[in-house]
Amino acid sequence: MRSKFGYFEDDYVPRERDGKLISKIIAIAAPHWKWVTFGLILSFGVTAASLALPYLLRLGIDQYIVNEELANIERVSGITQLSFLFLIIMLAGFGAQFCQIIVLEWAGQNMMHSLRRKLFIHTLHLPISFFNVTPVGRIVTRVTNDIQNMHEMFTSVVVTGVNDFIRLGGILILLFWMNWRLACVVSLVYPFLVLSTVLFGRLARDVSRQIRTSLAGLNTFIQENVSGVSVLQLFGVQQDSMNKYHILGEDYCQLVLRQIRIFGTFMPLIEFLQSIALSLIIWYGGGEIIREHMTLGDLTAFISYIRLFFQPVRELSQKYSIVQSAMASAERIFHLMDQEKTDSTGIIPLHIDGKIEFQGVSFSYEKNHPVLRNLTFTVRPGETLAIVGATGAGKSTIINLIERFHAPDEGAILLDGVNLQQLSSEWLRKIIGFVPQDLFIIAGTIRENIVLDLEVSDEDLDGILDLSQMSSVVKNLPDGLQTRIGEGFDLSRGQQQLMSLARVLARNPKILILDEATANVDSETEMLIDQALENVMSQRTCILIAHRLSTIRRADWILVMERGKIVESGSHDGLMAEKGHYFRLQRLLNITE
């Protein structure tokens, strides 16, 4: 939906038929049917109690208060007895209502919890390509706010809705049972009630949808103009944006006033209908009393029941909008659920040497923008390959393909002769140790960050720390391994790489992939990293995206990349002799370092 000045309502999910949606929602509720049923049973109790009280009043009036056939003493004691009964039913009603709220809240919370959990796990298993095109905020909203919306619907609509429904039915039955003629007369009001409610529901829904869009547009406008206020001031266009703002604000105000008119008609109308029902009761009911078809108590009960009958009708519009937004949320949630997960199953080889082959691999994230073009190379078991090249040459993409975050468009990547696509991705990621350039820190201590989900004994961990040179970092920390990261204490870029190395060592991977930090690392840490790399690289197949001379020289084989292609490859000495790209790079690095 397009509105003025470029606001778009973010309703991007294809519409699903309501029936299908509801059956999906019911499927979520199904495992909790016991609690829900219990809640519904209690609901009958609550209704029975709330309907019994006016009935007791009626009994009191007819049998004792106006019954002049009885002696005064009997009348008074009868009233007292009734009052006692009234008290008991009242307390029972209170208890039932309390239990019902608790039971249904319990069911609702658990339902939403399991849905939220399922959704979160599902999301974690979606392919990386999904995350490339979907903003983080949008995914987070699904897991949090959208679930919350559904919960709101559950507690305030489903629960009270069922209560109301039972109550309305109960009242109708009682009315017809007490005096069917009067009940029929009162029923004259219902068609008007239904008609105006339906009409109102539609009007209110339309206008509130327009208001939502208009308000969102207004808010976007304010948001942008406030954050861009200095641009407006520098360009001298404040008046311009003020004018636009007036139009938006005026539109919004007109819509709101329309809403007031709609509600202002409906609410008094309902009250009016209620009063009409009251007049009908007095007029026809009075006649019935004169004809001795009913009693004064019946009349009072009728009046009370009609009051109870109208209560839920008034709250209808509010519930309607809750249902609307919950349905939209449900739709978005199920849309996310329908996204296909990555298939992590596949072959798990028994033995691994660690030979990696690229055979004519091409890849692009977007059509017509190839990132890798026909790449062919082989890394033999235990060998170290360094990849160098400018930003945007495609170095990181190679890692993404080896990690199987994406599949190549053309060609194949083989591990020990087996196509990567046939291997279990979970197993693959277990045997590949990846040291990323960007930080990956979970909230917790350094120890937790290193072991993650592994069980590592303290002795083993000490060994790992020594190998990865992390021990010299840890030594200087206030709480050692138990230092919490992020709470007033941060690791430097270089220290983060050491920690990543320790993390990888703890997993003892067959293949190591390192994306070296480009940021400056102080020389002391640099020495530590070099030593750690030395320890880590032995016995493993390694692929390094290198930026520093000392790292590059460590490699057996060097690939020089430019715009997705290999432009040179060979050993350090060989490439130096060629006096090509690599030679120039070395010279530059020499000057810089």
């Binding site: 778009f8 009280l53 009234f86 009242m90 309390f98 919890h113 304010i222 520098l234 009075g286 590949i432």
Partner: protein, 576 residues
Amino acid sequence: MMSEFQIIKPYFKKYFFRLFVGIIAVLSVDFFQLCIPRLLKTAVDELGRLTPDNAIILRLALAISLLALLIAALRFIWRFLILGFSRLLEMELRNRLFSHILTLDRAFFQQRSAGDIMALSTNDLQAVQMACGMGVVASLDAIIMGLAALCCMIYIHPTLTVIALLPMPLLVIGARLLTRRLGRLFGTVQEQFSNLTEFSRDAIASIRLIKAYNQEDTYSSQFDKKGKIYVRNNFRLAFVHGTLFPLSSAIANASLLLVLWWGGRLVVDAEISIGDFIAFIAYLYMLTWPMMAMGWVVNLFQRGKISLQRIQEIFMARPLFSESEYPETVEEIQAIHLRNLSFAYPGSSQLVLRDVNLRIRPGILGIVGKTGSGKTTLCHLLTRLYPVEGGMIYFNNHDINKLGLADLRSHIAYIPQEVQLFSDSIAHNIRLGKNDATIEEVETAARMAVIHDEIMAMPDGYETMIGEKGILLSGGQRQRIALARGLLLNRPIMIIDDSFSAVDMETENKVIENLAEYLRGRICILVSHRIAPLRSAREIIVLENGAIVGRGSHDELLLKNNFYGTICRRQQVERF
């Protein structure tokens, strides 16, 4: 300090008549509503007689219907008048707020985030509107109805009234206590909710690494744990909620019980008639609502008052510097002089610029330096986004403080570091400072900024709406659109504050090439992290900690400035 109510007082004056009629309508509704139980009583008493008269009953029923019609009409009137008033007030207040905000300067926005101001213009205005609309009606209604119902009850039977009202204090106290607890628990739940949100945000932001380390299960179980805590607290909330809600109806019923028990006895003793008894119950129902509403209304007013105070704070804010009364104008700017320019941000003693002396003439002045060296501050001062002392910045021979703000800025096209685009068409975004620019002019500017072809490739060309689904501009595209916007202005001074950082090298080279011709005869200040665009600069200065530590041409600096030489070589490595 002026009272916060001063802000809304004018609106109450302006809409006095509307409000007055509305309030009369509310009072009339209350009065007529109170009549209905009286009619009911008469009818019941008539029916209680041995030979009731059908005609009287019919007349009473008709009277009730007529009254109901009148009430409905009056209700519509007050809803429209008073609630409408609150909405009009909201709109006018928001207009005033927005136009005031547009006059405030950067210093203000450094203390107040955009989010802050958004909250103000949504939540706080909403609270004020609620207090002035529903709050006024509900409080009037509750007080009048409550008192009137109470009077009628006392009129029927004083002792019965006292007895019937015995449980009411319980309701008031119980509601107060539980509401307070509810508020506290609600806070906890909110906090846990944002905790959960934050956790999922973190997880999804680092999804690559989670997958690379096979950490899906760890994260799932942590999420599960957090979710369970959230559920537990929600459940505790439900306990309070589950007590409060039935409690209010139980207490109303308790009053009813007392009326049945004691009032029934009174009828038996013929102290009151059966009609009185039934009318009494009707009044009791009328009283329950005001009792429950009072807490809500008080809360509404409190929140409205606090919100109004917050809004007032914004209205109290003033721009840091005001225009001089007789601004000088400057025609053609040939040079900008900086004389011993030192600057610290308002409220801070740390100098961001120290003793900068510079003479800027037509041609490109390049500025390089580390993050935080004062480059952007210098740009901000030249556009007078912050005030400087007199005698430090001169345009030709005019002190910057003596020039009119609008006049000064009309000479400058400033392209700031952070690109600000608006949710509107691309054409509109480029036209921002020059509404009357023809599409040809817009296209020329876009061509110069090397963005034209990309715009044409979009579904609606220049009319493509930014922010529409699918049309997510890359950082480089956004920067070039902002550049086109600046180029279109065709102003003698251009300030480009590191505006190519996200543009790829090839495109950047083309942009620089295109600019060379455009910039001839103009003053251009070009802040850049990259060296390549600076090669053609007439002069380059190197800033460090706010001071100029090197100046000269590219070749000179390469030889004599260490910092410049280092970044230059480093960038060659990256691009080689």
